[in-house]
Amino acid sequence: MSDAGASSRTGRLQTRLHVPRWVWGVVLALVVLLWRWTEVSDLAVTPAGRTIALQALTTGLLIGGVYGLVAMGLSLIFGVLEIINFAHGAFLTLAMYLTWVLADGVGIDPYLTLLITPLLMFLVGAAVQKVVINPAMGQPLENQLLLTFALSILIENALLLAFSANPRSVRLDYANASIGPVEFPLRIGGAIIELPRIVAFVGGLAVAWALFSFLNRSRVGTAIRAAGLNRTGASLVGVNVDRIQVLTFGLGTAVAAAAGVLVLPFLTLEPTTGTQFNILSFVIVVLGGLGNIGGALVGGILIGLTQEIGGLLFPGQSKLLPVFIIFIATLFLKPEGLFGGGAE
């Protein structure tokens, strides 16, 4: 009884890349979806149909890498702070506007802002954790959800006020250049792959790799892992858990910001652009296991593929329909549900 109020818990932060078992389930679902498409579509057996399928697969794979990166940030924040950050997408939008201002206003190459935007967003995220989120730590989950949700509305409307709802975009002068013998956009079997999408995928994987290395090799990363596994245990070995929470929220936000920079050259930017990323990351994080960083990356790629294959199957409808079917199936099939560890 003297132990009442002791906050002991078994954390779920996973910072190594396992391929979780559910991956095969989703891959199977994707194959079924594609096969379904060849049944219902007259197009499917023609050469044009094969091109469309190839296009969907490449587009899905490339955007999936970015989805994975965004979701890694969200999963990291959950793994250490045990809060679902519903403002994650809004932070991504904010980062995109920041990059847009730096690129369009100041004239910096959008990709060069990778050295600036994530750093600034790290500070924003850290400050938000310290001032807004931290007082709500230890409160019921609903309070934290509402708080971060309110934060997202606040950010979206502030952006609306500052930049209006006019769609913005950045131009890359070299999007159609050729590098040596390789001409962009790339054409593979009729499918067209634009340079910015390739950069986003490769860049996304690079940032993901950097995050993995940081978490698994550095001293601060070690402290983050400890706090994500057992908060009390971490404090008893000398980790300042409060500071680690501030750092982690900043880090998760910076990762989303890097993804924002990477997608800006091929998306139009509006104050609500982050919403879809937000919803998808949530789905991905649940799929990959809350707090499982590697699961988020793999889940992101699979959800990217699902979305594009879904677009084939339900043309003109929401591409997200099959994504949510997979989401709901996951909740039913994973007995540990939302809070399952995922990979083991």
């Binding site: 009884m1 003297s2 132990d3 009442a4 109020g5 002791a6 002991s8 078994t10 954390g11 996973q14 070690t222 402290a223 400890a226 596994l229 057992n230 009390t232 245990g233 971490a234 404090s235 008893l236 070995v237 000398g238 980790v239 300042n240 858990v241 409060d242």
Partner: protein
Amino acid sequence: MRRNNLLVLDQVNAGYGGLQVLHEVSLEVEAGEVVALVGANGAGKTTTLRTIAGLLVPSAGRIELEGESVVGLGPHDLVRRGVVMVAEDRELFGALTVYENLVMGAFTRSADERGESLDQVHELFPILEERAQQKAETMSGGQQQMLAIGRALMARPRLLLMDEPSMGLAPKLVADVFATIDRIRSTGITVLLVEQNAKRTLETADRGYVIESGEIHLSGTGDELLASDDVRRAYLGL
């Protein structure tokens, strides 16, 4: 007051939220001693240790480490000052290996110190070297207790706070735990030990305090307390 006090608690009140558990608890621990805090379940033993370790902030009273107030310092600050706790529920990193847990224990220490401590801990608990690559959560209770003590030693404590280290262990392992405490004492580490196993504890300890309903009820050397009628009746079932 005694000289050489490593730790002094003076009239400390503490609790959880609105529930006050400790009422004006005062105790002293000298450098090099093994001091026992015994009492029934719910008497406030764990609360006392958690307050010293910085996991709870006292609502009143003084806590001094070598004459300096440490009230308001977090557990991570106290680890750096040499106060390390082996928690009752061990608070291990279950998904990490034995080796990784020990390395985490030396988080506040340099790589050189870490290597040195690791050798010492392996010498004290050879099983932790044999099971280095096993996940902490897959070990038996007794082995987890050794790991929890080993992890605490990795931080090179001056004052080791031990909360019920023998709890839930088979008699043979309980004997091992008390033998371990003797060995830890011989390395010059001061130990504040909380136990329900009063007899064993008072036999091991230099001095002891008896806590009841959050108040210090009795104090004395281990032998004095063992001989006291109150203690014999209440805690030893004699």
